[in-house]
Amino acid sequence: MARHTQLTQTPAIVTANAELAERLHKVWETEPGIKGFLGTVDHKEIGIRYIVTSFIFLLIGGVEALILRVQLAQPDLHVLSPEQYNQLFTMHGVSMIFLYAMPVLTGFSNYLWPLLLGARDTALPRVNALSYWLYLFSGLFIYASFFMGHAPNDGWFNYVPYANRQYNPGPNIDFYSLGMIFLGISTTVSSANFVVTAMRTRAAGMSINRIPILVWGTLTSSVANLIVIPAVSLAFFLLYLDRNYGTKFFQPQSGGQPLLWQHLFWIFAHPWVYAIVLPAMGMVSDGLPIFCRRPLVGYTLVALSTMATMAIGFGVWTHHMFATGMSDLALSFFSGVSIIIAVPSAVAVFAWIATIWTGRPVFTAAFHFFAGMIALFVIGGVSGFMTGSVPVDWQLTDTYFVVAHLHYVLIGINVFPVVGAIYMWFPKVTGKFLDERLGKLNFWLMFVGFNLAFFPMHISGLLGMPRRIYTYPHDVGWSAWNLITSIGAFLFAIGVLLLFHNIAVSLRRGKHAGANPWDGGTLEWAIPSPPPPYNFVVLPTVASRHPLWEDRLDDAPGRSRLDTGLALDKGRQMLGTSVVDAEPAVILQMPFDSYAPFTLAVGTTIIFVGMLYRSWPGMAAGAIITGIALLLWLWPGRLREGSPEAANEPPFAEPDHV
């Protein structure tokens, strides 16, 4: 039993040098081969996996949407049977909102956070790896139903009683219920990782008023996720029990409450729709300054508005239930809050416009996407403002007007910023530029296609077209608008294809990009492109929001130090700092590659498959695998003396718990 000889270290301060870099490279590099593939904990690797996987789901969800649009292009078409249509529109919504929109942002945050924060990894790297595997497996789990012909068919919000066994006897809804609980675990652990990372692993001196807005966005989303995901997981679990074990939660004939489902779902889902845009709004807040050549206007206001949006967002869920016959008191309250929630959004919008106004825009492709996003946000936002007014919503709800709203906000504030972010950070990730000329064409195709597709939906909505109908008669006046929508949808899809084309071409022949191709001001631009496995040779000390601009802006009380700093090279080490002021507090020993997260995710998958088939042995087998993986994961390791040999420790024997 080894006693720990060294409980504290006085870290060496050194200037970045090649020898140190080489040593760190050895320590931080993911192992080659299968071990590295299944066991990597590198946030960059995990981030890329998240982004790629979520884009595959975007493509699948997009193709589903295009098929829907073919069916709806004209009245009385028979391309799809009603049941096929219902499964497709449900899977479209589920793929987009759960398997694309959040994971893509998780991917970006995973990749970018440590770079933005001046750290070498996130706080809980194995938890991070676990979250990816759980995401992948739960996505495959949900899609397994699709290929078995039993995809979920009750829309993404899956209202009971239609979701009850009595009306929906197949396994469709069981797949969805379990898949959502499964995915919820992934999102929960990933959120916990982000929150702890933001609290613990910022560069020395990065006090809370110097954190990039993207970090505020993801942090706010993560906190919200931790609070609201249990609501939806619980709802789906109760439904699973109702469907499989005869409980009565949602059985009206036994006193169960269909509206309980709606409350639990929307308590989750309204904060969720903000969670899947706040990080993207953060990307715009961090991206625009680079292309406007000045710091963001109203940093503090924008950061606060991010949190205010979410805080108010906890109190508006019933605006999705205005037609359910609630009391007038509840209606007035929730309607008022739903309208007032536009205030923090107004802050962001005007701050962005002011940044452009007082700045000097550089018309890069990324700038196009960020600026275009502002216009789409306003259009999508005001349609939300309209539905926020109860009496108006009684007319608008469940028509294509709402479909228009949700696509303007989702595509406008998620997809456009994400594509902009790809143009902006692709050079950092790969060391190569995306083609700018193609990029602008890409923007215009997507922008025009998008508006052509989704603007007419407002009109078909105002003309009374209900959502979720597989066909419509020719004499109700919707035909022309639907045709335009379908044409626009394909144009938009071609725009998305062009993005993929651009990526494919640029990966091979892209122009070489240096460390800081756009002359950005934040820490990620201080390191080479692509970043080395350890990110920073020496850990930076930060004195302002824009360490790379402060010489020129001269607005910092001191100077950031990027070339000289703590080496922390005794094994995988990183600096832990205090929550508010980011004062150095602890040296964190970071874990090495490990099979544990993967094993745990496999065990969890077995549990869920067991639950699907109501097989107790299946569930037990999964639980045992999960338990063993956890036990080995958490086994207290001994503190390493910090020699580089520590890198060769066997898996499962990590120093830091969790």
């Binding site: 009603p82 049941e83 219902n86 209202y159 239609y162 009306y167 009206p252 004939q253 269909p258 509206l259 050549r293 000045r294 206007v297 109203g298 206001l301 037609a323 359910t324 016959g325 007038d328 209606l331 007035s332 008022g336 309208i339 007032i340 802050v347 919008v349 005007f350 701050a351 416009i353 452009i356 106004w357 700045g359 000097r360 825009p361 550089v362 216009a375 306003v378 259009i379 005001v382 349609s383 403002f385 109860v390 009496p391 108006v392 919503d393 007319q395 709800t397 105002l462 003309l463 009374g464 209900p466 109908i469 066909t471 004499d475 109700v476 006046g477 022309a480 002359d519 802006l553 001269d554």
Partner: protein
């Protein structure tokens, strides 16, 4: 082209109260979009002061001023508009809660997969009757609706007369409508309810009060099938009676729409087909072809039976 479900025009007191608000927020929204997008365009394309010669056009700007004022003004004005809208919303909400006058007529509407049942209440039990998919009301008078969920959740919506209210199993929702003028107003289920959610329309027919009363008396009366259609009646009883009611005959099923006066209705199968003899035959022979997945099964029968049943139904005026 006509758009019977559009709600930017209204034909009833309840919709009238809401319409100005709808138009108001729509106009505010359009103005906001124009202003903000205008500002955005101006921000992007506005002329900027000429560079000092030799300065880097992509160089950093040194702390330009004025940005925050812009934010404060923008947010300030927006807040005023938002607060005003909230107040106006509350007022409209208070207005629509109850009808201008006490409603004399109460109709209980039950949403079923995928058709609507309407029960007309009356003090006199003998005057209570049930019909389906076509709801007659007296023009110019408020009518109270009790909305009940029969199986899953549906939503009751007649855009020209009023907004939506859900029909939810296990609870009763109350709403009211009033049609100013006689006319036929299309309604539609707007809560997703399964395979045939798309084909779950209905019609509210507003009649002059006298005509309405005439219609009501006719609906109260049971069917009186003549001897000519005895064969059709007996075939109907065995094949269809388990699901459909025809008052005045032994057929008393509750699964499908009441057919006592089916010929008085303009359409069949919840607005899916016009009620012509041809379509009626087509429906009875092949309901699954017309409305795939609906709860009326395909029933094998001889052409003679089919004709007899159709002929019988045609007497149910």
């Amino acid at each position: 082209m006509s758009a019977p479900l559009n709600y930017l025009t209204s034909h009833g007191a309840r919709a009238d109260m809401i319409l100005p608000l709808t138009r108001g927020v729509l106009i505010i929204s359009i103005i906001v979009i124009l202003i903000v997008c205008g500002l955005l365009a101006a921000a992007i394309f506005r002329r900027r002061p000429v560079e000092a010669p030799g300065a880097d056009p992509r160089g950093l700007l040194f702390r330009p001023r004025g940005g925050l004022t812009f934010v404060y003004v923008g947010v300030g004005i927006s807040t005023l508009v938002l607060v005003a809208t909230t107040i106006r919303t509350m007022k409209t909400l208070a207005d629509v809660v109850s009808p201008p006058r006490e409603a004399k007529l109460t109709i209980e509407v039950t949403g079923h997969q995928w058709w609507w049942e309407a029960r007309y209440f009356s003090e006199k039990p003998a005057e209570i009757f049930t019909t389906a998919n076509e709801i007659h009301i007296p023009a110019g008078e408020p009518v109270r609706f009790k909305l009940i969920g029969g199986d899953v959740i549906h939503s009751f919506w007649v855009p020209a007369l009023a907004g939506k209210t859900d029909t939810i199993p296990g609870q009763t929702n109350i709403t009211w409508l009033q049609a100013e003028r006689p006319g036929v107003y299309r309604g539609q289920c707007t809560e997703y309810c399964g395979k045939q959610h798309a084909n779950m329309a209905f019609f509210v027919v507003a009649d002059e009060p006298a005509r309405f009363e005439e219609w009501r008396q006719k609906q109260i009366a049971p069917a009186a099938p003549s001897a000519d259609v005895a064969q059709g009646l007996s075939a109907f009883q065995t094949r269809c009676g388990a699901c459909h009611t025809v008052r005045g005959t032994p057929a008393g099923g509750k699964v499908g729409p009441d057919l006592t006066h089916v010929m008085s209705r303009g359409t069949i199968a919840a607005g899916t087909l016009p009620n012509t003899p041809g379509h009626l035959t087509g429906w009875i022979a092949n309901p699954q072809g017309v409305k795939p997945g609906n709860h009326m099964p395909q029933i094998d029968m001889s052409g003679a039976d089919l004709n007899a049943i159709r002929t019988f139904l045609q007497t149910l005026g």
